[in-house]
Amino acid sequence: SQTIHQWPATLVQPVGSPLSLECTVEGTSNPNLYWYRQAAGRGLQLLFYSVGIGQISSEVPQNLSASRPQDRQFILSSKKLLLSDSGFYLCAWGRQQRYTEAFFGQGTRLTVV
């Protein structure tokens, strides 16, 4: 069966510090991978998605970037965090096909102070 791991579960970072959140998927190959952010009252906002190694699509221009160095690894990064980057970050995977469901990890709650 497929599993998705996301860490850390919680993170408190000062403004201006870098960020690296990692997500890995097991039990499947060539998945679609997604990063979402969930802020209070705003629902799940798609940040990045990837259909293959090195292929990243950005949905929202902002202070974040994503990379996919391996087939089942997806990394969300920032060089300098802003207060507005606080939120609940969720990684998800989907099958490599059209109209696929997304299966979520347990999320990282990031607080920028």
């Binding site: 629902g43 799940l44 997304a102 979520f104």
Partner: protein
């Protein structure tokens, strides 16, 4: 205008009630639709998947999609306190999903 609109609630109902959760969407390219349930501080879990218009039933849950009116619904029969959570609807075209803001549901004993 958001691509997927959803009333944030909260919606409070007694145990055993029938719950109706609704969303509207604006993107005509959406071909598939989902409902997710999210407990506090957890990742969303997939409840229902529907491709194109129609109904789909799974136990106490029924999902409906009306593409002509761009309307998505989730019905929960015989609601239980364990159903208390935030319910997220989503629509998608090809590779990615767009979510509503979620409706918070509280089922009280």
């Amino acid at each position: 205008q958001k691509e997927v609109e959803q009333d944030p609630g909260p919606l409070s109902v007694p145990e055993g009630a029938i719950v109706s959760l609704n969303c509207t969407y604006s993107n005509s390219a959406f071909q598939y639709f989902m409902w997710y349930r999210q407990y506090s501080r957890k990742g969303p879990e997939l409840l229902m998947y529907t491709y194109s218009s129609g109904n789909k039933e799974d136990g106490r849950f029924t999902a409906q999609v009306d593409k002509s009116s761009k309307y998505i619904s989730l019905f929960i029969r015989d609601s239980q306190p364990s159903d208390s959570a935030t319910y997220l609807c989503a629509g998608g075209d090809t590779d990615k999903l767009i979510f509503g803001t979620g409706t918070r549901l509280q089922v009280f004993p």
